[in-house]
């Protein structure tokens, strides 16, 4: 309760990891850590689902439903009956995100 951020859509398949460590470079929250022979999922709950790791993983060992966690845009989408996952108006004159 009062913590909606314990689970994320981040999935990591260590068997596919080639230990290039690209994910440890791009993650802004140190979710991945270097391990002895492959990368380890160190802080999964810290993931903000930006998608940088999955996009830069050369062997598709990581998947994540990426997107900007912009409440304003998601509520607006929900109210208009649109899909909350595809709608985002950040960066425009009307949203408060992307400062």
């Amino acid at each position: 309760m009062y913590d909606s951020y314990t689970e994320t859509s981040l999935r990591y398949d260590p068997d596919r990891c080639v230990n290039c460590r690209r994910c440890t470079q791009v993650c802004p929250h140190a979710v991945f850590a270097e391990g002895p022979d492959r990368v380890e999922l160190a802080r999964p709950a810290a993931c903000m689902e930006c998608g940088a790791c999955a996009l830069n993983c050369p062997v598709q060992a990581i998947t994540v439903q990426s997107g900007v966690g912009c409440a304003w845009a998601m509520i607006a989408a929900a109210l208009r009956g649109k899909d909350m996952d595809t709608e985002c108006s950040c960066g425009g004159d009307d949203g408060s995100c992307c400062g």
Binding site: Q25, N56, M74, G95, S96
Partner: protein
């Protein structure tokens, strides 16, 4: 394949053609032309930064996209990628004082690197297109481009390499770490981490406040309907949600922004609720009702503003924000509705002479 999977969940707005943007249509240099810039931040730049922070002409703080020369770069000088948002570009060029370098500015429609990367405008396609348009392969002898780490949500480094021949090197999160980074081309763990210190939170508050400006109308309306204290309560609510909340963010209990907002809203509402509740002008039942209405509405509104701040924060996930919306928005709606109904009941009672 990666990119195709991502498109479904990526922001769909303003992904269209970028040609009609005001600053880009006028005097766009022909492909291959190189601009010149310096590391100096002038007072005009500072004014531009201030206006950007206050949300003035929010999408107009742009730099002409394309290749720039910083200092006297040679074919062996490093290449840095940036966004065509003045705050991004200026952070990069000022951090590179004394460095001879090339700066490749992508067209992100005047949006900063991280947000543009999230939307995909600071992305693989745009980077590859700009590398080609600037004919970077004939400008420099090496095949490496330093991209800010926060550009990574939009850039597939392996695809950029395949399509352009340039290897992406992810620099530090913050441009100010570049001088240290450039000595070894290795980022320390701290350089790779995004924090959200008070200075970073504070700098966002003017825009939050400007966006909430229409809400001050409520204060004016309340002034006439319920007097100056009620109007002050409305002003306090807006300032709490847009300024006080970002400042106090890490110190308010619970992890969810909505509950943090609810707690902060209730605390700020207390003196107002006390003032209404003990007002000698009101009978006990009316005072109690006014106090309850104040608590309900103020907590609900601050909670809503707090929830909206997730979009400006640097760590909330979409999954979590969605969970927060489903968990708390109905609660906020009920609280606000109950509070407003109580307020209306008080207003009606006053009109009918009951209080």
């Amino acid at each position: 394949m990666d990119t195709e999977e991502r498109t479904g969940s990526r922001c769909s707005c303003s992904a269209g053609p970028q040609a009609e943007s005001p600053c880009c249509s006028a005097g766009t240099p022909p492909a291959g032309e190189v601009g010149t810039t310096t590391s100096t931040i002038t007072s005009a730049d500072r004014l531009d930064h201030l206006l950007a922070r206050w949300g003035w002409n929010r999408n107009g703080h742009r730099v002409e996209p394309g290749l720039y020369r910083l200092g006297s770069p040679t074919a062996d000088s490093p290449v840095f990628a940036s966004a065509n948002y003045t705050l991004s570009f200026d952070a990069l060029r000022s951090a590179l004082a004394g460095v001879d370098a090339w700066i490749l500015v992508l067209d992100t429609h005047g949006i900063n690197v991280w947000c543009a990367a999230g939307k995909g405008t600071f992305g693989t396609d745009e980077l590859v297109r700009r590398i080609r348009a600037a004919d970077l392969a004939s400008v420099v002898a090496h095949r490496k481009i330093i991209v800010p780490q926060l550009g990574a949500p939009g850039i597939s480094s392996q695809e950029v390499a395949r399509r352009s021949g340039f290897a992406v090197e992810y620099g530090p999160v913050r441009a100010r770490d570049l001088p240290e980074y450039l000595t070894t081309h290795t980022a320390t763990p701290a350089m790779r981490r995004v924090e959200f210190p008070v200075a970073d939170r504070l700098v966002l508050t003017p825009v939050e406040l400007v966006i909430a400006l229409p809400m001050f109308l409520a204060a004016i309306v309340l002034w006439f309907l319920a007097g100056p204290v009620a109007a002050l309560a409305a002003v306090a609510t807006i300032l709490t949600g847009t300024v006080l909340f970002p400042i106090l963010l890490p110190f308010i209990p619970t992890r969810d922004f909505s509950t943090k907002g609810m707690i902060l809203g209730a605390v700020v509402a207390l003196p107002f609720a006390f003032s209404f509740g003990t007002s000698p002008a009101l009978p006990t039942w009316a005072g109690a009702l006014a106090a309850a209405a104040t608590l309900l509405v103020m907590s609900a509104v601050v909670s809503y503003l707090a929830l909206n701040f997730t979009g400006s924060s640097t760590f909330t996930s979409r999954t979590g924000v969605k969970k927060e919306i489903f968990r708390y928005v109905p609660v906020m709606a009920v609280m606000a509705a109950a509070g407003l109904l109580a307020g209306i009941a008080l207003g009606v009672s006053r009109l009918m002479g009951a209080i």
